[in-house]
């Protein structure tokens, strides 16, 4: 190895060591970016994707106690002020649309708000039962539902008795100073879940 070869190796080593010494400073100036996402899922009675209804029977009657767990996980890089909105729809009512991030256009029958820190998981128990159902002109109307010991007015109508509980995730947006459905990054995200059931009088 001649002097020129040694010079190249020496200078390369020198610059690598120099870069290592200032690396912590570079890292402080450019914080690590994360891929933001938020998880919403509805779990059954025993916190699994199963056992949503007593005896796994989707035909529920007045007074049947149903217990679900709403699983939430925040990986948005900062705390989020969220709102869980529950809507009771029949099979023909408009459901939320994730692709264009549009919520279902109906008013929620129940809402719960909370703050979730980054990387925090929250399991929110949702106990509900149908309180009052009436039959009118061969339609079934669910008048009232009890959600977490709170009586709420539903007034959902279905000819077949087929209903669904839609659970939407809304987030408080700093720019609009209001809750928006899902969140906006490069594209819009609108997370929601639904579970179907039949109600008989």
């Amino acid at each position: 190895m001649n002097l020129d070869d040694s010079k190249i190796i020496y200078i390369s080593t020198f610059f690598i060591l120099l870069l290592i010494s200032v690396f912590p400073l570079i890292r402080l100036s450019f914080p690590r970016k994360i891929e933001p996402f938020f998880t919403l899922s509805v779990l059954g009675n025993d916190s699994r994707i199963d056992n949503y209804f007593p005896d796994n029977n989707q035909n529920i009657e007045i007074g049947n106690q149903i217990k679900w767990m709403i699983y939430l996980y925040n990986h948005m890089g900062e705390s989020k002020y969220i709102s869980i909105r529950i809507k009771l729809l029949n099979s023909t009512m408009i459901a939320p649309n994730s692709t264009i991030s549009k919520p279902s256009p109906y008013l929620p029958i129940y809402e719960y708000r909370m703050i979730l820190s980054h990387n925090e998981t929250w399991i929110y128990p949702l106990e509900w039962s149908v309180l009052k159902v009436i039959e009118n002109n061969s339609s079934i109307i669910v008048k009232n539902i009890v959600i977490n010991e709170e009586i709420v007015e539903a007034n959902a109508v279905s000819i077949t008795g087929n209903f669904r509980l839609v659970i939407e995730l809304w987030m408080w947006d700093i720019n609009t100073k209001d809750f928006i459905f899902g969140w906006r990054e490069n594209i819009n995200y609108g997370p929601w879940n639904q579970i179907w059931f039949n109600v008989s009088t």
Binding site: L3, S6, Y10, F14, L17, L18, S21, V22, P24, L25, L28, E78, S79, Y81, Y112, R113, M114, I115, L116, S117, H118, E120, E150, W172, I174, K177
Partner: protein, 158 residues
Amino acid sequence: MMYVISINHCYAIDESDVSLEIASSENSVKLAFLSILEVEREGGESSSLVVDLNQALDYLYEGKKAMESGDYEEAALFLNKASYDSEQIIIKALDLKRYAESRSEVSFKNQLVFSSVAAVIIIILGLVGWNLFQSYYLRRALQLYPEVSREQVNKNQV
């Protein structure tokens, strides 16, 4: 908070008062949430504030429930608690933000000093090391003497 509660007991509270109180509490919660975000953006620890704000949100929820059931006094009590807690969070968040700012400034300065010292040491050692290596290399090169191989000798003779 005690002042507001005592007023509540002196005057009858109606639905419009509670509605105003709900709007005010919701606004306080939003401001408290913004102050938490500011703490986080400065690199501060906000988990205790999040717990407190969730408590305030619970009060707000209970207040709304009490209002719906027509118990305006109870609603006002819960909503006052929500507003008070939110205001306390804003105050705590200011302290935490200041602490986080000073800590990140100190941390940056420490890192700057450490990196600068390390860089200077590496540069000095690099230059000194190179000079030593160069002189060693030249010394060795000067000690070398030319040697003619047997093959070269035979080739010249031919």
